[in-house]
């Protein structure tokens, strides 16, 4: 079973109530929001109504909210290799604490 991945690309501000109703039925509230719907004639017709506003892809499975967010988040780019035990700064800090 395949799914539509629908992204609202253009805002519906100033458009007729009917068009905004279609977007609401698709579950699209704000720009660049992503929703997934199964490929079926009903959803295809809804997409056709707002085809000027959305970008559609066909995907194998729907992604969860966390997965969609992970797509947008840049990579961390580092990992903690070693804890500073007895390092230069850590040693100084320890001495200070002892003096107090």
């Amino acid at each position: 079973m395949s799914w539509f991945r629908i992204t609202l690309h253009r805002s519906a501000i100033g458009l007729p109530e009917r068009t905004r109703g279609v977007l609401a039925a698709l579950g699209l509230r704000r720009r660049s929001q992503v929703v997934f719907h199964p490929v079926s004639p009903q959803f295809a017709g809804m997409i056709m109504k707002v085809k000027e506003l959305v970008r559609v892809e066909e995907v194998a499975r729907p992604l969860s909210r966390a997965e969609v967010k992970a797509e947008r988040t840049p990579e961390r780019g580092f990992w903690l290799e070693r804890r500073g035990t007895g390092g230069l700064e850590a040693g100084k800090e320890g001495e200070k604490v002892g003096e107090l």
Partner: protein, 229 residues
């Protein structure tokens, strides 16, 4: 802000009057020079704050130091677990084939020391070389001064004559880049004035952010490329 400032002033106080307390030994000109020099050493814009006392422990520490100054007890440090735990193991990578040009030119790049590298931390690029100090635009959780970070995302790696460009990233196996956490830096207080029209009321909103500082301790090009690559 006031608490940190008060603490720094309290720490400074015993150090400052020392030169003034011995006026018989020093001539007046030298004393004046010392007096004029001492304020210069205080840098109000960039302060280094100890990251050891967490905000929840600050009041306890200050009261204990004030009340029991004669009894020198080491303050109890409760390990306050941070909300975010940094990974301590390298992320899994899927080995990919290296371009033959990379294999042939990598020894030449490695032979030219003083390499530069564009590392990416949370998607932001930092063009650095060994020994550089980096002030990150955020306070990194779960790190203490002296911790060693391994930086594994780079978009360029180069020397005077050669540059290895990643698309979008340079292969992780081709370089080793490490950074040491050096401390925390505090910015001057920002004051934002909130004002509505036709109303005299003004609200001052203060904010003061802290930033983690790093020093790039190692930038190395790895020449022993694994056979499967």
């Amino acid at each position: 802000m006031s608490r940190a400032l008060l603490r720094s002033v309290l720490e400074l106080r015993p150090a400052v009057p020392r030169p003034i307390a011995s006026p018989r030994i020093l001539p007046a000109t030298q004393i004046r020079a010392l007096q004029t020099q001492t304020p210069r050493q205080f840098n109000p814009t960039a302060q280094f704050v100890d990251p050891q006392p967490r905000p929840s422990q600050l009041p306890e520490q200050s009261t204990s130091s004030l009340s029991s100054s004669s009894q020198r007890e080491p303050p109890k440090q409760k390990p306050n677990p941070p909300r975010v735990r940094l990974p301590t193991t390298p992320p899994e990578i899927t080995p990919q084939k290296l371009d033959p040009s990379v294999k042939s030119l990598l020894p030449l790049l490695a032979a030219q020391p003083a390499h530069y590298i564009t590392i990416h931390i949370h998607g932001r690029p930092y063009l650095v070389t060994e020994g550089d100090a980096v002030r990150l635009p955020f306070l990194m959780p779960d790190v203490q001064p002296g911790d060693v970070l391994r930086l594994n995302r780079a978009s360029t790696l180069g020397s005077r004559d050669f540059t290895l460009k990643g698309s979008p990233w340079v292969d992780e196996r081709l370089f080793e880049c490490r950074a040491v956490v050096t401390g925390t830096e505090q910015e001057p207080v920002r004051v934002m004035i909130k004002k509505k029209r036709r109303c005299r009321r003004k609200k001052h909103v203060f904010s003061q952010h802290r930033y983690t500082t790093l020093t790039i301790s190692e930038v190395k090009v790895v020449t022993e490329v694994p056979e499967d690559a």
